[in-house]
């Protein structure tokens, strides 16, 4: 049995999924779909920062281009924390491709001149 809050709409239903994958507590069908994804393969997009080498006290924001498995968040963070770039940076610049074989690239999300 797993319990969590549906995040699809503000009603925020408390969903319960039993060991056979039956969903209860959902007010509408969207909650059921969400619950099943959450149980089978929960994923999250990561947004964080990396160092800008040629600027003092500056980091630039980056993100994963798609969601990565929730269980890998800290592993992915470890790799991202080894990355750095030089300014100028442009939104969409790829810093690393296919991080840890997740299919996600790490891209810049901020222009720094």
């Amino acid at each position: 049995m797993k319990e969590f809050t549906c995040i699809i709409c503000p009603r925020g239903c408390s969903l319960k999924v039993d060991d056979n994958g039956n969903v209860t507590g959902n007010f509408c069908p969207r909650g059921k779909e969400y619950a099943i994804n959450e149980i089978t393969n929960p994923k999250r997009t990561i947004t964080t920062t990396i160092r800008v080498k040629n600027r003092k006290d500056t980091v630039v924001s980056v993100k994963t281009t798609c969601a990565v498995p929730k269980g890998m968040i800290f592993e992915v963070m470890k790799v991202i924390n080894t990355l750095s770039v030089n300014a100028p940076t442009r939104i969409g610049d790829v810093v690393l491709e296919n991080i840890l074989d997740t299919g996600a690239n790490i891209v810049i999300t901020k222009n720094i001149d």
């Binding site: 809050t5 995040i7 503000p10 925020g12 160092r51 500056t58 924001s61 993100k63 901020k110």
Partner: protein
């Protein structure tokens, strides 16, 4: 003295949207004054995603969202000055500001206020205990972490469960800090449910409700906080103390519209702590408009952009002498509603109007009733309402035509 048709004070999301809309409606002589080194406002430091779903139908991070507007300001060649802090605004719209250490004045024909908000600090909530380092607002922590790359602490307690607090809980945790808990004085969270799931539950960070910091302890740096349960009257309940060792207390205890520039013009304000406005976002002072977080605190930037456009549209009408001056219909926050923006509607506006409101507490299965006097104009079913999610109600031109009396919006159980 130099004159400018439209001066926009503040180059955040609201200000940029206002300037772009006014330009679109034929206003040429515009100037945006921004105190920071670049346009963009607070979104510069909001590096998480979830912005732009309404505006662009895609999920963007804060910096990506704002860059799209900066690009448009540049393409449209709208003049802006950064490093320009406005110090004073008078009733006849004379603006003084400092720029590169120099003092400048100019006269505007119309003004859009888009100065954003500020955070309540430890002083403002009067946390009892030692005044040591390690107590910081969530917005300041966000700036250190996301712009400069400094970690604010190793063991962190977050006070207040507003969205910025929740976002920072996740952020600091990702960067390797131990976020021990989030403590909220109210019996429900001030943040969106999805943020509680994604930022707290995902990382097993506990959220304590009806609990607040009753004492901070530390010599130079914070060493401990005491969390105590509160009763319905928000008084600490003796015997419920929890002692938590931490080096940092992050405060996410509320945002307040930044409107000190309006003080000199005797501008009436409302319960939102921002200016009273009509459907053009015009304040009660002729030709001065207001939008974004300095009008009322928003949680979704897409709505800020939209409100900025309304203000820009109003300013354009004003400059073209096409604005309707009568504020004939008052909007009244009835049962269960804490505020409505705008506070006045012009019946002859001849355009669709969006009313924005917040409810007082979380409720399920509600009718939102919109009444003009005793006449029901519209009722809308909501399966759930929460204070952290602003409700938008669109009044079409036909609905507007049915309105004869003041407009009350209230909640009723289904």
């Amino acid at each position: 003295m130099r004159t400018v048709d439209l001066v926009v004070i503040g180059g955040g999301s609201a200000g940029m949207a206002a300037a772009l809309q006014a330009r679109k409606e034929g206003i040429h002589d515009i100037l945006i004054l921004e105190k920071e080194d670049s346009l963009g406002g607070i979104l510069t430091q909001c590096i998480h995603n979830g912005f732009g779903l309404t505006e662009f139908k895609e999920e963007l991070t804060g910096p990506e969202y704002l860059q799209r507007f900066v690009d448009q300001v540049i393409t449209e060649k709208i003049p802006y000055e950064c490093g320009a802090q406005v110090l004073d605004l008078s009733k006849d719209k004379v603006i003084s500001y400092s720029k590169d250490g120099k003092f400048e004045t100019l006269k505007a024909k119309a003004v859009v206020m888009a100065t954003g908000c500020y955070e309540r600090s430890a002083g403002a909530i009067q946390t009892p205990g030692d005044r040591c380092s390690g107590i910081i607002t969530a917005g300041a922590a966000q700036k250190y972490c996301n712009i400069k790359g400094y970690m604010v602490g190793k063991r962190v307690v977050i006070l207040g469960s507003g969205d910025i607090g929740l976002i920072m809980a996740r952020r600091l945790n990702l960067e390797g800090a131990k976020v021990i808990c989030v403590s909220e004085i109210m019996p429900y969270s001030a943040g969106l449910n999805r943020n509680i799931q994604q930022c707290l539950k995902d990382y097993d960070i506990p959220l304590y409700l009806s609990r607040s910091v009753s004492r901070t302890i530390g010599k130079d740096r914070l060493e401990k906080v005491i969390l105590s349960a509160v009763d319905e009257k928000m008084n600490f309940i003796p015997g419920t103390e929890m002692e938590i060792e931490c080096d940092t207390l992050v405060l996410s205890v509320g945002l307040i519209p930044y409107i000190s520039l309006l003080n000199n013009v005797d501008c009436p304000t409302s319960s939102t702590k921002g200016a009273v406005v009509n459907n053009y976002m015009e304040t009660m002072i002729d030709g001065i408009f207001s939008c974004g977080n300095c009008l009322h605190v928003h949680d979704v930037v897409d709505f800020v952009t939209d409100e900025g456009r309304t203000a820009g549209h109003g300013a354009a009408l004003y400059l073209q002498k096409r604005i309707h001056k009568e504020n004939d219909i008052k909007t009244i926050a009835g049962n269960g509603v804490s505020y409505i923006v705008p506070q006045f509607i012009n019946k002859n506006a001849d355009e669709n109007i969006t009313l924005k409101l917040r409810v007082r507490k979380p409720l399920k299965d509600q009718w939102v009733m919109i009444k003009s006097g005793d006449n029901l104009i519209q009722k809308i079913y909501k399966s759930a309402v929460i204070p952290s999610e602003m409700l938008l109600i669109n009044l079409s031109k036909d609905k507007l035509a049915q309105i004869t009396d003041n407009l009350t919006i209230q909640l009723e159980d289904k």
